[in-house]
């Protein structure tokens, strides 16, 4: 795999490619894409030899965000691709491309209620039949944060968080000690 070549291909599919500092965030590339490009990206990733680490949903406003994680065997290249579901809570399945996504998507359906269009067998996997609409991982009313709240604050994250954290935390720590 040539990463530059792959990057070029990503450009056609994504709205933003962000290189992330592995030492801080634990992955290399952060891709943002439109929801109708998810299947194209999956096909590309499979062709390039990536495997699907997992996919998950995050309940944020205005729409639930889907995060697909890919990684590569031969060299370190961990990719997060994120998109959001549409207003009906639907998104296209990638389980016919990455069969491993089948169960992950069923799990997301169970826990967040995201419906995957054209999924071959979207039955409850973890929940019981009668709890289909439980959606346990949806945040309670009022607890849902806006999508900006969970984004890394300085857009260039490299060494930023460290100096930011220390002063932020210190008063907390001393406060606790005072209490005890």
């Amino acid at each position: 795999m040539d990463i530059n070549k792959v990057k070029k291909q990503w450009q056609g599919l994504t709205t933003a490619i962000e290189e992330v500092d592995y030492a801080v965030s634990g992955y290399d590339y952060n891709l943002s894409l439109e929801r109708d490009k998810v299947r194209d990206l999956a096909v590309l990733m499979l062709d390039e030899g990536f495997y699907l680490v997992g996919l998950m949903a995050v309940h944020v406003a205005p729409a639930i965000e889907m995060v697909y994680q890919f990684a590569y065997h031969e060299s370190r290249c961990r990719v997060m691709a994120r998109t959001s579901v549409d207003e009906n809570g639907e998104i296209a399945t990638i389980s016919d491309i990455f069969q491993g996504a089948n169960w992950h998507e069923r799990e997301v359906r169970d826990l967040h209620g995201v419906v995957f269009i054209d999924h071959p067998y979207l039955h409850p996997l973890i929940l019981a039949e009668e709890d289909v609409d439980l959606k346990p991982l949806l945040k309670a009313e009022g607890k849902v944060k806006n999508v900006d709240a969970i984004r890394r604050k300085p857009p260039e994250p490299a060494p930023e968080p460290k100096p930011k954290v220390v002063p932020e935390v210190k008063p907390e720590a001393t406060k606790n000690q005072e209490q005890s």
């Binding site: 826990l111 969970i150 930011k164 720590a173």
Partner: protein, 375 residues
């Protein structure tokens, strides 16, 4: 789950459905697999999960991230320390805490002991699946030594909660080092026993060869990692591919096999025992002096907003903790990507058209830990 059965039974009339589990000797926990049989051949498999789901991911959203540490140990009861490791590392990355070198060495030593322990239990339990009763007792005999060593330092025998954000909770002593070295010698002297009793046995060879074929492409499609993937010839190990902790300092091989069947992953796991021993040996030799906890670990861990991922190599494959933070000390969302979940998802494809006996041996080769799937 009556619906599932209907789906299977509708497909054709002369086949019938066998319910394997949730209480079955070879599913190792509350996993249920519906088998659609034609004679003794499984034409269609449908795993049914969720009997022991504890919703750890939801629990994580309710309390400070630091308090989630004991829960990680309960996801995979065989790789508790490795789960500890992944989670501690995640928070250290996110908050930016430097772990002292001695703590990293201790983490590696105990994690590798944990890995050996997990492999030994799998070894015995797998042989039990294949109908050999004795090897599990020999494997347990060895495993007890590890548990004693780990109990001495962590205080518990199974669901360890030993790692802390910023280090480990307790320093190891000279006794630990001598006991571990004695164990290394002991396990090495036991290889010949395992090899003659089990690995070379013609019945075992016939049971495992050419059963449960996988290839690298299938592994990519299903996200299979760990010994199963290495059994197909791909030398992918997170300890080498994305060296975390201090794994880059050690000299160890990644055992691979090429055939991708049960025998391949069996031998890969068996040979990983030796590699783990080598890592432990090197770590014990290079063990530095110093503190085992980072000097400044804030009491309240405010995680800067953003998302963080931490991947480690669990005995069963890639384990990823993915945390989304909104800037508070309570995770906004924590996703645990457990290896068994993806590994098990290949079963319907891998076991299609197999004899029941082969389904048992193929599922045993996945080294399933059900609480990890129903996390």
């Amino acid at each position: 789950m009556s619906m599932d059965i209907e789906v299977l039974e509708d497909s054709s009339h002369h086949r019938y459905v066998l319910n394997m589990g949730p209480q079955h000797p070879s599913t190792h926990g509350v996993l249920r697999v519906l088998l659609e049989l034609e004679g003794e051949y499984a034409m269609h498999l449908l795993p049914v999960l969720g009997y022991g789901h504890r919703c750890h991911e939801k629990i994580a959203e309710f309390k400070p991230a630091k308090s989630f540490m004991p829960n990680t140990a309960r996801m995979d009861y065989l790789g508790a320390l490795i789960y500890n490791h992944g989670f501690a590392q995640l928070l250290e990355k996110a908050v930016g805490i430097e772990v002292p070198e001695r703590a990293e060495y201790i983490r590696v030593i105990t994690s590798e002991l944990n890995r050996i322990q997990s492999h030994l239990l799998w070894y015995g339990a797998y042989l039990l699946d294949l109908g050999a009763f004795t090897p599990i007792m020999y494997a347990f005999d060895d495993r007890e030594h590890i548990l004693d060593i780990l109990e001495d330092v962590t205080g518990s025998r199974l669901t360890y909660c030993y790692f802390r954000v910023g280090g480990v909770s307790k320093d190891i002593d000279e006794k630990f080092v001598t006991k571990t070295r004695a164990f290394i010698d002991r396990l090495r002297s036991r290889y010949s026993l395992y090899e003659t009793l089990v690995n070379g046995n013609v019945i075992l060879e016939n049971r495992l060869n050419d059963v449960g074929d996988l290839n690298p492409h299938t592994c990519n499609r299903y996200g299979i990692t760990g010994p199963l993937l290495r059994g197909t010839g791909v030398a992918y190990d997170i300890r080498r591919a994305e060296p975390y902790s201090i794994y880059s300092q050690f000299d160890f091989e990644i055992p691979t096999a090429t055939k991708g069947d049960c025998m391949a992953s069996f031998m890969v796991r068996f040979r990983e025992l030796e590699q783990s021993l080598r890592i432990i040996e090197q770590a014990l030799d290079g063990l530095p002096e110093g503190p085992v906890m980072a000097a400044k670990v804030p009491k309240k861990l405010n995680i800067p907003a953003g998302d963080y991922n931490s991947s480690v190599e669990s005995p069963r494959g890639e384990l990823s903790f993915y945390l989304v933070s909104d800037g508070t000390d309570v995770p906004y969302r924590l996703k645990v990507r457990t290896p068994s979940y993806s590994n098990l998802s290949v079963v319907p494809e891998m076991c299609q058209g197999m004899l029941i006996s082969d389904v048992v041996s193929a599922m045993g080769a996945l080294d399933l830990v059900i609480p990890e799937i129903d996390r």
